[in-house]
């Protein structure tokens, strides 16, 4: 789970506070550009230019070693008729929703870990953050063992209660949920760090005042912590949705390309990968990449539209 280009904390923060933005002074001249030039060039060369190139490729049919022929909207027409794409879209949404369910958990955990006077607070923080810095492939390998249908600890545990657990990673339906749980688990740490930073920004006087008024801990949590944390929650939600729609590595590493349930469990990026690098249909793959971009774009735009309804800026 990495931050996509262009979405930095600063970027969102700036977007949140348009009023405080300082208009560029007319005396600045051209030289500030010099300082941003290296980053600007990097973004242009490695993100913006490939974006246009992918857009162009999506209207072509490409050979395995380059060389394109223009085919118009053929790839898009094919995509609309491809039932795997629809299925992958559903799978991707299911995965994203499961990951989003991790955010309430992260809020609870973050506020518990940040409770004043908690002993071993740093230890807990490290503990929860560990899954996030662990390599997805390593995480996947461990979870593969836990999910193993014949010898896994999860099914052993269920068998104590007389439940006959399924083959988690190779049964259609279960597989995407199993991957989603891992995705949720491994993103907890990241969400907690962001939310913890948000918690530190809530002035302690609010809590003191609430205590004087006799508010319970739970009341304080729901009426002070959560509302004042909404900017951070908003940020975490945006990032989680973007990352969720880019599901590939966890799915690939937990299930493997030859899993009998893979066809029913593939994500959009998985189809992109398969088409681009296994089938050598780079034109079609580019069209799917454009679809992913469009979906993420729309969802993110919608979230920014909706934020006025529920995000409180102090």
């Amino acid at each position: 789970m990495t931050l996509p280009a262009g979405t930095t904390l600063g970027g969102i923060a700036a977007a949140q506070r348009p009023a405080r933005q300082r208009a560029g002074s007319p005396t600045d001249g051209w030289w500030p550009w010099l300082f941003v030039l290296p980053t600007l060039l990097g973004v242009l060369v490695f993100y913006i230019w490939p974006l246009f190139q992918t857009g162009y490729l999506s209207f072509t049919e490409t050979g395995p070693f380059g060389g394109e022929t223009w085919v118009g909207t053929e790839n898009y027409a094919k995509m609309l008729g491809d039932k795997n794409v629809g299925l992958a879209l559903v799978n991707t949404v299911v995965y994203t929703v499961i990951v989003l369910l991790g955010i309430p958990v992260a809020i609870l955990l973050a506020s518990m870990v940040n409770r004043p006077g908690l002993r071993f607070a740093t230890f807990y923080r490290v503990l929860f953050f560990m899954p996030y810095i662990a390599m997805p492939t390593a995480v996947a390998l461990v979870w593969r063992m836990i999910y193993n249908g014949d010898f896994g600890i999860l099914n052993w545990f269920l068998s104590i209660f007389g439940i006959d657990g399924p083959y988690w990673t190779s049964t259609p339906g279960f597989a995407i949920v199993a991957v989603g749980i891992v995705g949720m688990w491994s993103s907890l740490g990241f969400s907690m760090i962001i939310l913890s930073a948000g918690l530190k920004n809530i002035p302690p006087d609010f809590y003191e005042a609430a205590q004087l008024d006799g508010a319970s801990r739970w009341k304080q949590f729901t009426s002070i912590t959560v509302p004042l944390l909404t900017p951070s929650i908003f940020f975490v939600t945006i990032i989680s949705v973007i990352n969720g729609f880019q599901l590939f590595d966890l799915l690939y590493a937990i299930m493997g390309s030859r899993n009998p349930a893979m066809q029913q469990s593939q994500s959009l990026v998985y189809i992109f990968y398969n088409q681009a690098f296994i089938h050598n249909n780079r034109g079609y793959a580019a069209a799917i990449a454009m679809l992913i971009l469009l979906v993420i774009g729309i969802v993110t735009w919608f979230q920014f539209r909706m934020q006025k309804r529920w995000v409180n800026y102090v």
């Binding site: 050979g63 395995p64 070693f65 380059g66 593969r144 999910y147 193993n148 249908g149 014949d150 010898f151 896994g152 083959y167 990673t169 190779s170 049964t171 493997g256 390309s257 030859r258 899993n259 009998p260 349930a261 893979m262 066809q263 398969n274 690098f277 296994i278 089938h279 050598n280």
Partner: protein, 425 residues
């Protein structure tokens, strides 16, 4: 000819100058001599083979001390993606490993240098390698790759499990009936300990259904690589073989095999039989129960058959140092180089007669069985875009193996879709 000329002029001290002009005159072809200077790259994917390959390079440098070979190891998972990117930008390594499924893609798109010159000059003799491998690396009648090593399939078994279940040790006379009955008996007898009769990987054809389809007398793809063989009665029978094994519990289900791979079932003593190939020798020789394990020929169907596959060394058609690359590939093709590979346990070499060292490396396995298998081996099925239809196999066949759909329906659907993919090549 050119070599002779240069040799005659050598005393005049013009060698260097002439060699250079010869180079520029004909694009560097065939002007290699023992003091040619060049740097070439050699791209491979198997870290385990690096010591043997370094030894090969060192031995090559005894003859050509001024040709520097840069070994470039890229892990399997990224190898083909990287190679394809390099091919798209005309920056392929000078010499690299090639496998069957990818070969025609590169050969048909003019990425590989034909070996015709080397074969005509008798520097490389295709007769030295298993015929099926020469065929595998020929496209439109031209050979592009020199076989480096090869693998065939065998029936691996666990003596101690067979004994506990009261099953005879398999012999070369076994047929499908014997292996099925024996597998069933093991599952029935030792099932309460979680032991199965048979395991194999059914995620790709090489370890499982390619062999049984060939044994039934069918083919996966027609010889010219234009038509699918899946809709033939023989192919259907070859797939049915596995469906039957799974259906009566002689073998774990696909889900079980997806969670715990076949080699793990076998090496942890949870399976009596295991279809696998030459590549598994080193893993099985390091298994804890290695002394219980051995290998027999694959059981026969209508006929005896196994898939044969192996790697080849190929030269990039865009190489700027073709002469030096050809000299290096010629050396890698030699008996000496391939013997080194065998002695260092890197691979089962392709050069006929050099495999003894490999057989001797694990004396408690009858590896000779796997070598003898080349007499009844069929080349690994490929076409120009092999990946397109192997993906169809992966997508469609599980429904046949699990019994969710009749084998015949799946086979026919697979044949139809595969023919569509082949028509696009």
């Amino acid at each position: 000819m050119k070599k002779k000329n240069i040799a005659r002029l050598a005393p005049l001290g013009l060698v260097a100058a002439l060699a250079l002009s010869a180079c520029s005159a004909n694009g560097g072809d065939e002007a290699v001599s023992t003091d040619s200077k060049a740097t070439i790259s050699y791209a491979v994917w198997d870290e385990n083979q690096v010591p043997a390959l370094k030894q090969n390079i060192a031995d090559f440098n005894k003859e050509y001390p001024n040709i520097e070979v840069k070994l470039d190891v890229t892990p399997w998972s990224q190898f083909w993606t990287k190679l394809q990117t390099q091919a798209s930008s005309d920056t392929l390594p000078d010499v690299f490993w090639m496998n069957g499924p990818n070969f025609q893609l590169y050969a048909a798109n003019d990425q590989l240098e034909p070996l015709t010159g080397l074969i005509d000059d008798k520097k490389i003799d295709p007769a030295n390698y298993p015929e099926a491998l020469d065929t595998l690396y020929s496209y439109d009648g031209t050979q592009y790759g020199v076989p480096k090593d090869f693998d065939t399939l065998g029936l691996w078994y666990n003596k101690s499990i067979l004994e506990q279940a009261g099953v005879e040790i398999p012999t070369d006379a076994w047929t499908w009936d014997e292996i099925h009955a024996a597998s069933k008996k093991i599952s029935d007898t030792l099932g309460d300990q979680g032991v199965y009769g048979m395991t194999t990987s059914l995620t790709g054809g090489q370890e499982g259904y390619y062999n049984s389809i060939l044994q039934a007398g069918g083919e996966i793809i027609s010889e010219d690589g234009k038509k699918s063989g899946y809709d033939s009665p023989e192919a259907i029978e070859g797939i049915q073989f596995w469906t039957d094994l799974i259906a009566d519990g002689s073998m774990p289900t696909l889900q079980q095999l997806s969670d715990t791979t076949a080699n793990v079932w076998f090496t942890s003593g949870k399976s009596g039989f295991f279809y696998s190939g030459t590549w598994i020798v080193s893993e099985l020789s390091e298994a804890e129960n290695t002394m219980d394990l051995n290998v027999a020929p694959l059981p026969k169907g209508e006929r005896q058959a196994t898939v044969i596959h192996g790697l080849a060394n190929v030269i990039s058609s865009k190489s700027k140092n073709k002469a030096a690359s050809e000299a290096f590939v010629t050396y890698l093709a030699s008996k000496e180089a391939q013997t080194t590979q065998a002695e260092m346990g890197a691979a089962n070499p392709a050069f006929n007669g050099t495999q003894t060292a490999f057989v001797d490396s694990v004396p408690h396995f009858d590896i000779q069985v796997l070598l003898d298998a080349q007499d009844y081996a069929y080349p690994y099925p490929i076409s120009k875009n092999t990946a397109a239809w192997t993906q169809l196999e992966t997508d469609l066949l599980p429904a046949a193996f699990s019994g969710d759909k009749p084998v015949k329906d799946v086979a026919n659907e697979l044949a139809t879709k595969m023919n569509e993919a082949l028509a696009k090549e």
